[in-house]
Symmetry: C2
Subunit: 144 residues, 2 copies
DNA sequence: TATCGTTACATAGTAAGCTATGCAATGATA
DNA sequence: TATCATTGCATAGCTTACTATGTAACGATA
């Protein structure tokens, strides 16, 4: 028996993820950000001043991964961190003017990446694709 | 305007890819291999003795990525490399007994990972999901 | 046949993910 | 209130991906 890569969900998902990341990377490079920073930016654009712990609870990455991403964002001038008023272990995370200024262009870049990726699908197929992915994620998260 | 992560194809794909990789990693850990080695192993289980260049043409990764993966596989005792009979720049890549011995269990682990991920979908939905992914990959590869 | 562009592979450096672990502050409780 | 488990974050070390670049062998051609 052989194993066909091109019919394996795991193989296809991995390949898609790399293509999506590359498409987003190219489109947001002019803004001075990279794909890994996108989830944290999305969350902070909506609610500035959260702690790392609060972000970890909302984004689906491990705490250590986010800690490293935030360190790069600080290095790149996208965020600053301030003392937490009530807990000396924690710090609140705040977007800089630079990060606020690129929000609309970043949204547009992400939407254009999605649009281009799904361009060959009908509106119904796109909707079903999204739902199939959501259900698959839900299954895997439960499945442990 | 806000941007909903859970309705963004790119976000969902990234999340799925990490969940698939984690599921496969857990299932193949007893075999002494890791997910990144899987594509090269699949190809070598079918055609042993290929060069790195030949593998790069079949797997969808960059040459440098494969070079590093092959170095780890050699370190882990999965492959050995021999002089190419006609080209001193190239080397042919050969599976070890250890790598050959785990083939069937590795296939089973990958299939079980896919099965568990798609368990909530009907057979028709699974087939359509695979096709949607194949079409999306094709679109992105063309789109550049 | 000497030169020189091309090819095959390796290496450096970075990002983004993971697990494991360390440390200081918090907070519960004996 | 002194102790000690828990919490919030950082760090170390690894994998897997990328781009850019280096090196040696190949092969075409002047």
């Amino acid at each position: 028996m052989t194993f066909k890569r091109m019919d394996s969900a795991g193989y296809l998902v991995n390949h898609m993820a790399r293509l999506f990341a590359d498409g987003l990377r190219r489109r947001i490079a002019p803004l001075g950000i990279v794909p890994g920073q996108f989830p944290a930016l999305l969350e902070l654009w909506e609610h500035d001043g959260q702690t790392q712990k609060e972000l970890v609870e909302k984004l689906d990455v491990e705490q250590a991964t986010l800690a490293n991403t935030l360190a790069r964002m600080e290095r790149d001038g996208l965020i600053v961190r301030k003392e937490h008023p009530a807990d000396a272990r924690a710090r609140t995370i705040h977007l800089t003017d630079k990060a606020r200024a690129i929000r609309d262009r970043a949204y547009a870049a992400a939407q254009e990446t999605n649009r281009a990726a799904l361009a060959a699908l009908s509106p119904e197929e796109r909707q079903q694709f999204i739902e199939l992915m959501q259900r698959t994620i839900e299954t895997m998260r439960r499945g442990g």
